[in-house]
Amino acid sequence: MNILITYSSRTGHTAELALLIAEELISMGHTVDFEKIERTVKEHRWPLLWRTQWHWGALAIGLVSNKYREYFIANYKIPEVAIKPLLHPDVSEYDRICIASPKHTIVPCVIERYLRQVEGLKNKKVGYFATWAGPPLKHFEVEHLFRPAADRLERRGAKLVSILGLSSLYHEYYIMFIFRLLSKLRFGQPIENFSVKSDYGIRNRTLFCNELIQGELDVQESKGWRRSYDGPGIPGIATASTITTLRLIRRLFIKYVVRGRDELI
């Protein structure tokens, strides 16, 4: 099968994952070509942050209201930036397309531009893999990147058939400690367990490649949830809204405290 891996990497972590996936696909007997998306002007990290800072306030509301979060994900606008000319401006000759990027709060601006610019996406089956700082949090990481990406691909006539998101263990803005804490709180595991080279990463890389080749799954229908990690830990925290979390605490309280007390009586 003829596969194109299109990647955009700012700090190098996504390129590393792209290489690992390419090697896996080649070992499965497929032909892989590459497309590196680069900005015309290299941007310092702080101005890059300002570009998406508008969304941070919206993220804050999303933590309180599930309805607003749904609305935000379905409607948010991504600013575009100029990219260097593409090596493969028409991808119609490929059987599968793989897009790889980091997550810059939302879908990166370069990917937004690429998805508008590239030709021949119609009826193509696409896989999307990404590296981000945190663990695979359902609402913050997985949903914020893959659902808008799936929407955009659908508008171009393509179908997202496989997704993968792994932790790069690196954050450019020095807030890695927050994600380490979230990983402990939400999953009860160190964030290293969700990194590119962890068992979780290796397992999911293989799964990603298999699903990409099979091309039967429709991520849009499963709303991008499927690949989020659903393990032990303190459920609800950092993945749900405050109200959902409070409801959950109430349910647990009734289950373990109130009913337990009744049984004692």
Partner: protein, 270 residues
């Protein structure tokens, strides 16, 4: 491949990617602590000022973006706003808190029917309160419950909301666009805050020397006036019929009949 050669661009192979990753691994960026900026602003001024500006922008966006978004949504998508959701939650909470005191006040007024307090509460107090309630929460409820004002069953969602908030159980017996009937089969207040009158007519002991105080008067007045007020604000063509069957009177259920004032005469709906 041909297109690449034609455009004169060099192909990017897996070996190029391998080389890129190997080079990157030698100078892999390391995580730093956020407090590094406060310690050495002179060492890396662009980084320090970048951080400072980002922090200011972040603080401003965290305050102004929610305000802006709420205002924008209020104009564009009122049904989805936090405002309406918040109002409905506040309304439900108020309902839960105020239900018992209101019933208590209503019952006290019934027990002192000959005094002026009864007239004051039932003629002025409750109407003013219910009008104020509908003024505050009616608009949000209409959007939040997605009420179709041409369908009387849809308007009945308001009563469902009251029931859900207070813990009353009921079901719809008839669900028509022009006539709907709801039976409230269980009420948490009857037998507690609202004394229950047995079908045999044996009433609870009469307080203040009044014989057989009709405690169901509170419901028949308060609920009807409240729902009637809401119906009026949605569609004046509909009304709630006076309550005849009531649990406090000894009936099996409270019957609420929503109907069109003038019977539908057929033809195309307006």
């Amino acid at each position: 491949m041909e297109t690449l050669q034609a455009s004169g661009k060099k192909e990017f192979t897996i070996n190029d990617l391998r080389l890129e990753v190997e080079t990157w691994q030698k100078q892999k960026p390391q995580n730093k602590n956020i407090f590094i900026f406060f310690k050495s602003p002179i060492k890396d001024p662009p980084d320090f000022f970048g951080f400072l500006i980002s922090f200011i922008i972040l603080a401003l966006t965290l305050v102004f973006v929610p305000v802006f978004e709420i205002v924008r949504l209020l104009i564009l998508r009122p049904a989805l706003t936090l405002f309406h959701t918040t109002m409905v939650i506040i309304g439900a909470a108020l309902l839960r808190i105020l239900a018992k005191p209101l019933i208590h006040i209503g019952n006290k007024a019934i027990e002192n029917k000959q005094r002026g307090i009864y007239k004051f509460i039932y003629k002025k107090g409750f109407p003013a309160f219910l009008q104020f309630f509908n003024l505050c929460f009616g608009f949000s409820l209409k959007y939040y419950l997605k009420i179709d004002t041409k369908d009387v069953r849809s308007i009945g969602k308001f009563q469902e909301w009251i029931d859900d908030s207070c813990g009353v159980e009921g079901k719809w017996i008839e669900s028509d666009v022009n006539r709907s009937v709801r039976h409230e089969t269980w009420c948490p207040f009857v037998g507690r805050e609202i004394p229950y009158v047995s079908p045999a007519g044996q009433n609870s002991p009469a307080p203040n020397g009044i014989e057989n105080p009709d405690y169901s008067e509170f419901c028949s007045y308060f609920m009807r006036y409240w729902i009637q007020n809401f119906i009026k604000s949605c569609n004046p063509e509909f009304e709630l019929a006076p309550l005849t069957c009531m649990i406090p009177k000894g009936d099996e259920c409270c019957e609420f009949v929503y109907k069109r004032k003038k019977p539908w005469e057929g033809g195309e709906k307006s």
